[in-house]
């Protein structure tokens, strides 16, 4: 290996390592701390590896007032968001992938631009509108906002998925006796299913992690992040660790499962693994 190449490699790996540590170290400490016996969390100097594994902290967290309820709320909101998003996003993705229509490219770009608009600016008008429509402090209301946030990503991911299913296959099905919809249902859909599952998980995670809109639009029916955010200032340290860990968990798990589709979404050709 030539010298400049070696140098470039070394710098690259150093950068990657630093970046990985920057992300991983907090996750590591949050994870470790939430399985450390409560009294040890305050110990100084703090041992990197706890003296023994304990579910104490997690139990306390899950047993705290409002946690279980908001956890259920979060799951409901995430599932509602997922259904809304796929119901609208998958057909939109299919249309962008299959049909030429005027303004298709503008649509693809425009859909991302909606994400550039800061939610904070919308907070008050949204709250007012939701109160008027009777959606304020309801799970459906939160799910609608989450759908609006997840939809651009869902459309982009599903576009990629349906582009990966050759048009020929659907046409072949049509020559063999299927209607247009039949060809979609019998050929395109089964082939797109793994990708759609990935899009669904991604949507779930977006909704699960979203805190701002959920905090503004609810009072009693808090989702888990909203609940943690509003109670965290008044909570002991171990509660925060356990809450943090609980929030990270699904994201880590799903991201690991769908990472190949995320590459796809960012337009990388390296997803074939």
């Amino acid at each position: 290996m030539s010298y400049p190449r070696l140098l470039r490699r070394t710098l690259l790996y150093m950068g990657v390592t630093a970046f990985a540590l920057w992300v991983l170290i907090p996750i590591f400490f949050i994870g470790i701390s939430s399985f450390t016996p409560r009294n040890e969390i305050y110990a100084w100097p703090k041992p990197i590896i706890p003296s023994h594994f304990s579910l104490d902290t997690m139990e306390f967290f899950l047993g705290s007032y409002g946690v279980l309820n908001s956890l259920l709320n979060s799951v409901w909101v995430a599932l509602l968001t997922l259904s809304f998003t796929l119901a609208v996003g998958a057909p939109a993705g299919y249309a962008v992938a299959r049909f030429f229509f005027r303004g298709r490219e503008a649509f693809r770009l425009g859909i991302l631009i909606t994400r550039m608009f800061p939610t904070a600016l919308l907070a008050v008008p949204l709250a007012v509108t939701f109160i008027r429509w009777g959606l304020y402090d309801t799970l459906v209301g939160v799910a609608l906002i989450h759908t609006a946030m997840a939809l651009p990503f869902a459309v982009i991911i599903t576009t990629g998925i349906f582009m990966g299913v050759p048009k020929d296959l659907e046409e072949a099905a049509m020559t063999l006796g299927c209607s247009r919809f039949g060809a979609f249902a019998r050929v395109a859909l089964p082939l797109a299913l793994p990708g759609l599952a990935a899009a669904a998980m991604f949507t779930f995670v977006i909704s699960w992690n979203e805190v701002f809109a959920a905090t503004i639009l609810t009072v009693n029916n808090r989702t888990l992040p909203a609940h943690i955010l509003t109670t965290i200032q008044a909570s002991p340290l171990y509660f925060r660790f356990a809450g943090g860990f609980f929030m990270i968990l699904p994201a880590l798990f799903f991201m690991f499962l769908i990472r190949r589709y995320l590459f796809h979404m960012w337009g990388g050709a390296t997803a074939e693994r």
């Binding site: 296959l169 046409e171 072949a172 049509m174 082939l191």
Partner: protein
């Protein structure tokens, strides 16, 4: 079983590009018709219009006397083999072949029997439980053909079905498709840009250019008597040779002047050509219709050898006559060296003359 296909004044444009230009075409029942042309000539679009995968802008499409212009592909009584084969990757070979019959709600035991029968015909009965990812390109192609044939379609449409196979396999499948057509007898429309495939498979060939059929004839006629310069230049390996010539008359005999030399013409042509004295024409002749003399004698066309290529069964010479370059097929035994001047004799009966401006063949009957 086999149906007639009739296109009447069919037009299809994509934006400003006209892919099929007011086409009239009749494919006889049981005929094997090849649509041949360079890429972008509209041959695949024509096929897709017959299949119903494209909606025509105007004109009518009839299959078996029935107006199918407004019908979806599923109700036209057609089956199609795609260039990519379009075999469903999430189904086994057996499920792929059975797909169309299942859509028709054919009874299960009948499907099973039909699948087995067609699989045997195409020699893929050993592969029925496999998935397409476990098959070679050639095997996938057979599955695609089987899936189409099992439907017992009135019309079989094939879009460059052999173009993704390697050369040897293509040769083998070509012969098999021909045999298959003889056995099944379905009206077949076959799209290709490979002129050898067209010559070997077609009962008739429709040569297309810019969305129009420029010649519709038997392979023999298309090869021997191209209707325009384009067809002669497109069909045949090597393509037809073209020489600039002029009609002249001396001592009561009509002849063609190529540079300073004269070429005799068919006696029957003299009458009409006699009225065209002084007109520049294009003389077309195939490589195998030129005889070679080792030295330029009286009455031969002198030519300089540029390259000599031994090709096994024949030897291909590239020679220069005036400003024109010709390909000449000779026996491999003839020994010539580059730079050598030889004499050419053009076989009178095989000469074809074209209008210099329009490129259309001159007619003498």
């Amino acid at each position: 079983m086999a149906a007639e296909i009739r296109l009447e004044n069919v037009r299809k444009a994509f934006g400003k590009v006209v892919a099929v230009r007011d086409m009239d075409l009749v494919v006889e029942p049981g005929e094997f018709l090849v649509l041949l042309g360079p890429s972008g000539c509209g041959k695949t679009t024509t096929l897709r219009c017959i299949a119903g995968l494209e909606r025509v802008d105007r004109g009518r499409v009839y299959i078996g006397g029935r107006d199918v212009t407004a019908l979806p592909p599923s109700r036209r009584g057609i089956a199609m083999v795609f260039q990519s084969y379009a075999v469903f990757p999430h189904m086994t070979v057996a499920q792929n072949i059975a797909f169309g019959l299942r859509m028709r709600h054919t009874p299960k035991d009948e499907i099973k029997r039909a699948v087995k029968e067609v699989a045997e015909l195409l020699q893929i009965d050993e592969l029925l439980d496999r998935y397409p990812s476990q098959l070679s390109g050639g095997q996938r192609q057979r599955v695609a053909v089987a899936r189409a044939l099992v439907m017992r379609p009135e019309v079989l449409l094939m879009d460059e079905p052999l173009s993704n196979l390697d050369a040897l396999l293509r040769l083998q499948m070509r012969a098999e498709l021909k045999k298959l057509h003889r056995e099944v007898g379905t009206t077949t429309v076959y799209v290709t840009h490979d002129q050898i495939e067209a010559l070997s498979l077609g009962d008739r060939i429709a040569v297309m250019r810019d969305g129009e059929i420029v010649q519709l004839d038997t392979p023999h006629e298309v090869y021997d008597k191209p209707a325009i310069v384009f067809v002669g230049g497109f069909i045949g390996t090597p393509p037809m040779n073209f020489l600039r010539a002029e009609v002249r008359k001396a001592d009561g005999r009509v002849y063609l002047a190529v540079g300073d030399f004269s070429v005799e013409v068919h006696e029957e042509w003299e009458g009409k050509l006699g009225e065209m004295v002084g007109t520049p024409v294009v003389l077309g002749i195939r490589a195998e219709n030129i005889e070679v003399r080792p030295t330029p004698e009286e009455g031969t066309l002198p030519a300089q050898v540029i390259v000599a290529e031994p090709l096994g069964s024949q030897q291909l010479l590239t020679v220069q006559v005036g400003k024109d370059v010709l390909k000449v097929a000779t026996s491999p035994e003839l020994s010539v060296a580059p730079g050598q001047t030889i004499g050419l004799v053009l076989t009178k009966a095989k000469i074809r003359l074209f209008d210099e401006k329009t490129g259309e063949a001159l007619k003498f009957d």
